[in-house]
Symmetry: C2
Subunit: 305 residues, 2 copies
DNA sequence: ACAACTTACGGGGGCCGTAACAATT
DNA sequence: AATTGTTACGGCCCCCGTAAGTTGT
């Protein structure tokens, strides 16, 4: 029996308001946000006004809708808070409901390597009654799916300096274990002047044209930041989720792309090792803090060490 | 204008309910929690019932009140969420209100070293109009004060392995920079058999009696976990915030304590270097993510590197 | 004029307090 | 019997939708 408990003097912030705030910012419009949230514009307007009054600052400029300085600060907090709120619900659901014997694995396209597929097959063999689902989607969606507990396990690929972890967009609730690390190649049409080189430096190719295929090759933003350049022009954006389509574009000369070294390539595309900067292709397995037995087995089985 | 925005399918959890849940767990009683929260017992009961219905699991056993497995999971999420909710409000308040030219520094007792005091004096000189307040309190309170944004800067002391950061109770919203690192001594009465040794190993003293002075010496729980022992018996708990009272107890033979090497000692107490395990005394400065100019100056000026 | 955000106002649901009830010691 | 948690009920407030108003293009 303790008597002087106080969690916070300053009161809490209503997460419903935070949610509409985040949505309004993302949509750039009150009315569009209202549609997504299944509210009227009026309600959204009132909610934002109420949030601003509660916080005591103007959060958004209207027409055009954009965050003020204060709004930007709030946004930095709002998204993780909403994520964690969902994670809390999912986590306790897993702890309370008897093991529902279902495991959903979210994965980005390139992370689903033969080794991973093999592990999933082995998991099926170990747990014949387990309802195992694999969901392929974009990287960000994999992270949020795991962070919110929508999926228990995630697999994600990306580029990083050797032995460095991928820097995720999340913080705290998700833990990552390395699954694989490989060299990178620049994919070129066989007719490309550099196609005969045995290795390439990214610096030699900053003025080339690139294909920005966020889901199926190394994202250009990541390449730029890791290479410390703001070159790597791009005019072609590939939203597909299969490598063959991208490789067809490469073959046709629409641009270059960086892919893992073991990617199978068609005859008219060649992969040249990327020697500098020293970057590797990494695959990581993500999971929440309390893994079920099948999830833990998968993590153990796939961990690189 | 984007059209397919969705933050989470599963809905949010009401933080007011989380707050009463946390309070009930901490108090171990619905009725005591109700007093602290300024509610009736009835309201608390209804809130917990409502939370349990919302989540879909029993969170607490009644009589005695304790968390179920599901409740424990929820608790792990609830506290950081509430902290962050408060942090969000404080952070935007700082960003929006014109610089209120007030800086509150929370600090644990031992962290307020001459060097720190000097830096604070220099800060006063640099910003004559700044309303600088220093608040000395227990370690946990310093952390939560910074995490919630109640104070912009915190100073905290503790023991750790050399070059390791202190492991804080928080995650994410607070960043720490090292301020100082010193050797540790075991303080003994001069009459103690070990008083003439030039250095000591903690292993030699696991069976001695210790004074548990959480705020003004190395906390025994920390020593135990870092030393990997469950010895270090204690019968004297010192809640004071000044070292001299503790040292009087040591002199009187009530027990031993571990303190930083540069602590001034009275004539009847001697400090013997702690050689094993290799531990150091560390002071860190904590701050939120967006520091005001005075806070940033303080952090720069005190950082150890 | 129209598109988009704000304000006014009324209805309904949720939340808390009072009070009666149940259960555990 | 006393203490503690639960259930019943009623009032109040808050929140959303409708609809009219305002502002910027």
């Amino acid at each position: 029996m303790i008597s002087d408990i106080s969690i916070s003097n300053t009161d809490l912030v209503d997460p419903n308001l935070l949610k509409t705030f985040v949505t309004v910012v993302r949509c750039g419009s009150f009315s569009v946000a209202a549609q997504n949230l299944q509210y009227t514009q009026s309600a959204v307007s009132q909610q934002i006004a109420s949030l601003e009054e509660d916080i005591g600052a103007t959060l958004l400029t209207r027409r055009p809708v954009a965050t003020t300085e204060a709004g930007a600060r709030l946004l930095e907090h709002a998204e993780p808070i909403l994520l964690r709120l969902a994670a809390a619900r999912a986590d306790v659901a897993r702890a309370s409901g008897q093991p529902p014997e279902a495991l959903t694995v979210a994965t980005s396209a390139l992370a689903l390597t033969p080794r991973v597929a093999g592990a999933l097959r082995a998991l099926r063999a170990r747990h014949p009654r387990l309802d195992l689902t694999v969901q392929v989607s974009a990287r960000e969606e994999v992270v949020t799916a795991v962070a919110t507990g929508h999926c228990e396990v995630g697999l994600i690929d990306g580029i990083a300096a050797p032995n460095d972890p991928l820097r995720l967009w999340d913080e705290g609730t998700v833990t990552a274990v390395g699954v694989a690390e490989r060299d990178l190649v620049v994919t070129l049409p066989t007719t490309h002047p550099m196609a005969s080189r045995s290795s390439l430096r990214l610096a030699d190719l900053v003025d080339a044209w690139w294909i920005d295929a966020a889901d199926v090759a190394a994202p250009l933003v990541a390449l730029r930041s890791l290479a410390g350049t703001d070159g790597l022009r791009s005019a072609v954006f590939y939203d597909g989720i299969d490598a063959s389509g991208l490789l067809a574009l490469v073959a046709a000369g629409h641009g270059l792309a960086v892919m893992p070294a073991d990617q199978r390539l068609p005859a008219d595309v060649i992969g040249v090792r990327l020697a500098s900067p020293r970057l590797v292709y990494r695959i990581e397995l993500l999971h929440g803090r309390h893994a079920s037995e099948p999830a833990a087995w998968l993590a153990d089985n796939l961990s690189a060490s």
